[in-house]
C-alpha cells in the first residue's frame, strides 16, 4: 500500500459507492426490489432480470494489488467493467482520483480510458491483424502518439515483459503465455496509473500462470501501479493480492487483507472458499507478532546490571535489545545475565550476554516459514522488518493459538 509521504495516510485511488448493475430492459423495477431487500434469485424470478452487481461499495488504495475474487457468475467481471464503463452502471458512482467516472460524457470517458486505465483480458484480446509491436503500441496509437515514439515505448514495454525480439511476429505465432505478455505490454505501454486485469492469467496453464504472477509482482516492485485483478483462483489471490474483495451473487461480501479474511471470514461462502487453504501459508509473522516482551533500549552506557534490573522487574525470561532507532541488536536471557553477573562483570556491555543462536525472522515470512524457528527456540522468536527494526515477538503459545483460531474459523480441515 502506498503511503502519502506528507500525511502518512493511505491514498485512495478508486472509490466505488453503492454500485448496481442490472441486466435487462426494466432495471428500475429490479433496483426497487433490491432496495426492498429482495435478493438476486427473487429478482430474477419476478422480473426476469439479472442482477450483475448489487450495492457494491469499497475503495482501492494507490499502488496496491486489489483482487476481486468470486465464482463465475458472482459479478466480478461485471464490476471491473463498471470501473471503466465498458458496462454502464445502473446506479451508483465510481470515483477515480476523486473524479466521478459515472458522470463523464463520451469524450471525457474516451480521454479517461486513454490516459488513466488500461486493461488485460482473459482471452488476451490481441489484434490478430497486427504485429506484436503494433499490438503493444495499440493504446498509444489510439492516443495519437506518432509512430516512432509509440514504437519506441512499445518496445520498452515488450522488453519489460521479456518479449524483446518478438516484435515482428503475429499473435497467433506465440504461445498463450507469450500472448498474454503482449497483452500485459499493451497495458503497460500507455503507462497507466491503474491496470485492470480480468482473469488475466486464468487461461494459462498452472506453471505459466505462476510465472506470470511473479512477473506481475516484479513489475509492481519496479513501478507501483494500482492493479485491480479479477480472479476465481484463491491461490492466485493470496499470492498476489494486497487486499481481496470476495463477491457472491453480485454482492461484495468481504474486503480485507488475505489474513484478515482468513482469520475472520464474513460468512460460510467465504469460509468455503478458504476451505483447504493452509493458513500458515497466508498469515505472516508480522500478523501475529505481539510486543509484550520487555525491550531494552541500549545506549553506550547500557550494562548487564541495567539489563538485569529490567528483566527481573518484568517477570519475563527473555529480553530484546534495540538501539535508539529500534533496530534489534540481540536477545538476552535472564539466565545468561545471571551467569555473567556471577562471574563478576556487572559493568560489561550488554552485548556480552547476547544469545548467539537467537536469530530474528522477517515480518513478511509466513507462519510456515517461521515454524521451525518457533518450534526449536526456547524463547519467543523476535520479528524485524526489512530495515531490521524490531516489531515484537512470536511465541509458541501465540503461534498455536492463531493456528487453532483459523482452523475453527476457516474450517480448513484437521490435517494441518
Amino acid at each position: 500500500m502506498a503511503i502519502d509521504t506528507f500525511t502518512g495516510e493511505n491514498m485512495e485511488k478508486i472509490r466505488v459507492e453503492k454500485l448496481y448493475k442490472i441486466f435487462g430492459n426494466k432495471p428500475k423495477k429490479a433496483l426497487a426490489m433490491l432496495h426492498d431487500g429482495h435478493d438476486k434469485a427473487s429478482v430474477l424470478e419476478e422480473t426476469g432480470m439479472t442482477v450483475g452487481v448489487n450495492d457494491a461499495s469499497f475503495s482501492i488504495e494507490a499502488g496496491e494489488i486489489f483482487v476481486i475474487m468470486g465464482l463465475s457468475g458472482s459479478g466480478k467481471s461485471t464490476i471491473v467493467r463498471l470501473l471503466n464503463r465498458l458496462i454502464e452502471p445502473t446506479s451508483g458512482r465510481v470515483f477515480v482520483d476523486g473524479q466521478d467516472v459515472t458522470a463523464m460524457n463520451n469524450d471525457e470517458l474516451v480521454k479517461f480510458r486513454l490516459h488513466n486505465m488500461s486493461m488485460v483480458f482473459q482471452s488476451f484480446a490481441l489484434m490478430p491483424h497486427q504485429t506484436v509491436l503494433d499490438n503493444a503500441a495499440f493504446g498509444l496509437e489510439l492516443a495519437g502518439v506518432d509512430k516512432e515514439k509509440r514504437q519506441e515505448r512499445a518496445l520498452e514495454a515488450l522488453e519489460q515483459v521479456g518479449l524483446a525480439g518478438w516484435e515482428d511476429q503475429y499473435p497467433e505465432q506465440l504461445s498463450g503465455g507469450m500472448q498474454q505478455r503482449v497483452g500485459l505490454a499493451r497495458g503497460l505501454a500507455v503507462d497507466p496509473e491503474i491496470l485492470l486485469m480480468d482473469e488475466a492469467f486464468s487461461a494459462l496453464d498452472p506453471l505459466i500462470r505462476t510465472e506470470m504472477q511473479d512477473e506481475l509482482l516484479k513489475l509492481q516492485e519496479e513501478d507501483q501501479r494500482t492493479i485491480v485483478f479479477i480472479s476465481h483462483d484463491l491461490d492466485e489471490a493470496l499470492r498476489i493480492g494486497d487486499r481481496i474483495a470476495i463477491m457472491e451473487g453480485g454482492n461484495v461480501v468481504q474486503v480485507g487483507t488475505p489474513d484478515e479474511i482468513l482469520q475472520n471470514p464474513a460468512n460460510d461462502y467465504v469460509r468455503a472458499f478458504f476451505r483447504g487453504v493452509d493458513p500458515t501459508n497466508v498469515i505472516s509473522a508480522g500478523d501475529i507478532v505481539s510486543n509484550t516482551h520487555p525491550t531494552l533500549v541500549v545506549t553506550k552506557t547500557g550494562s548487564l546490571r541495567a539489563a538485569h534490573e529490567i528483566l527481573s522487574g518484568s517477570d519475563r525470561e527473555h529480553g530484546y535489545v534495540i538501539d535508539a532507532k529500534h533496530r534489534l541488536l540481540g536477545v538476552i536471557s535472564s539466565e545468561g545475565i545471571q551467569n555473567a553477573l556471577e562471574q563478576g562483570l556487572p559493568d560489561q556491555p550488554i552485548s556480552q550476554a547476547y544469545m548467539d543462536e537467537a536469530e530474528p525472522v522477517n515480518f513478511d515470512e509466513s507462519m510456515q516459514d517461521i515454524l521451525p524457528m518457533v518450534a526449536s527456540s526456547a524463547w519467543p522468536v523476535p520479528v524485524v522488518d526489512a530495515d531490521g527494526v524490531y516489531k515484537g515477538v512470536v511465541s509458541k503459545n501465540r503461534f498455536l493459538r492463531t493456528l487453532h483460531k483459523t482452523e475453527t474459523n476457516g474450517d480448513s480441515g484437521g490435517d494441518q
Binding site: V110, A125, M127, R186
Partner: protein, 276 residues
C-alpha cells in the same frame, strides 16, 4: 369470394410511376448522372487501351495474387474472347461490371457497416434486401426504363439493385463476426467509435467484405443478359440477338464470353481476398 372486389394495386402502381415520370424525372436524371459519368469514363478508358495492355494487366494480377495456372487460364480466356470477335463487347461488359461494383461498394459497404453495428437498422434493412434479391428483374426493368430511359446506364442501375444485397449482408456479417472482446479491448484502451471501426472492425471484417465484393461481381455478370433486354450493350447483346433471331451459334458465343470472364474475375478476386 374474391369476385366482388379486386384491389386495383396495378393501377395504383402505374399511376404512381407515371406521376413520378411526369413530375420528378429530373431527380432521376440527376441520380443517373454520376453512374453515367463513371460508366462512360470506364468504357472509353478500356476501349482506348490496346488489348495487349489489358491482357497484360489481368495476367499480372492473376500472377501476383494466385499463380501460374490462373495466369495461363486468364491469358487463354482473353485470347479466345478476342479471337471470337467479342473484345469490344467484353470491354463494355467489364466497364458495366466495374461501374456497378464501384457503386455497390460506395453504397453497400457503409450500409453493411451500419447494419452490422445496429440491430434496429438491420431489422429495417433486411426485408428491403430480401425484396431486392427476390423480385424478378423483369418487374423493375420497365420502371427503370421509364425513369432512366434505355441503354447501358439503365442496365447498370438494374444490375446495382440485383447485386447490392449480398455485399450489404456480407459486410454486416463480417462486422458482426469480429470477436466482441476485440471491440471491448479497443474501447477499454480509449478507442472512439470511429477508431474502433477503422482499426479493428473493418480490418478484421475485410475477408468477408471482399467475399461480398466477389459476390457482387458475379451477380453483376449474371445480370449482363437481362440488362441487354433494356438496351445495354456488351456480351449480353449477342445472346439476346441470337435468341431473337434463333441464331444459336451467336448466342452460344456470347454465352461463352460471359462464362470465361466470370471465371477469370471470380478466381482473381477470390485470390485477392485470400491474400488478405
Amino acid at each position: 369470394m374474391f369476385d366482388n372486389y379486386i384491389i386495383p394495386l396495378d393501377e395504383w402502381v402505374t399511376t404512381f410511376i407515371e406521376w413520378l415520370v411526369d413530375n420528378h424525372r429530373e431527380v432521376f436524371q440527376t441520380m443517373k448522372w454520376p453512374v453515367e459519368q463513371t460508366l462512360n469514363g470506364l468504357e472509353s478508358g478500356l476501349n482506348a487501351l490496346h488489348p495487349a495492355i489489358i491482357i497484360a494487366v489481368v495476367c499480372l494480377a492473376a500472377w501476383r495474387f494466385s499463380g501460374k495456372r490462373l495466369t495461363i487460364f486468364s491469358l487463354a480466356s482473353m485470347l479466345i474472347v478476342g479471337f471470337l470477335g467479342l473484345w469490344e463487347d467484353t470491354m463494355i461488359t467489364l466497364a458495366m461490371v466495374l461501374a456497378s461494383v464501384i457503386f455497390c461498394g460506395l453504397v453497400g459497404i457503409p450500409l453493411g457497416i451500419m447494419s452490422g453495428r445496429s440491430d434496429r437498422f438491420e431489422m429495417i434493412l433486411r426485408p428491403i434486401l430480401d425484396a431486392m434479391q427476390t423480385t424478378p428483374a423483369f418487374v423493375y426493368l420497365v420502371p427503370i426504363v421509364m425513369l432512366f430511359s434505355v441503354g447501358n446506364v439503365a442496365g447498370v442501375l438494374a444490375t446495382i439493385i440485383f447485386a447490392l444485397p449480398p455485399l450489404i449482408r456480407l459486410t454486416s456479417l463480417g462486422i458482426r463476426g469480429v470477436h466482441p472482446e476485440l471491440v471491448e479491448a479497443a474501447q477499454a484502451f480509449g478507442a472512439t467509435r470511429w477508431q474502433t471501426l477503422m482499426k479493428v472492425q473493418i480490418p478484421l471484417a475485410m475477408p468477408t467484405i471482399l467475399a461480398g465484393l466477389n459476390q457482387t461481381i458475379m451477380m453483376s455478370l449474371s445480370m449482363v443478359v437481362i440488362a441487354a433486354l433494356i438496351g445495354a450493350g456488351g456480351l449480353g447483346s449477342p445472346v439476346i440477338l441470337g435468341l431473337n433471331t434463333l441464331d444459336i451459334g451467336r448466342a452460344v458465343v456470347g454465352g461463352l464470353g460471359i462464362v470465361l470472364m466470370a471465371i477469370v474475375l471470380d478466381r482473381i478476386t477470390q485470390s485477392i481476398a485470400q491474400n488478405k
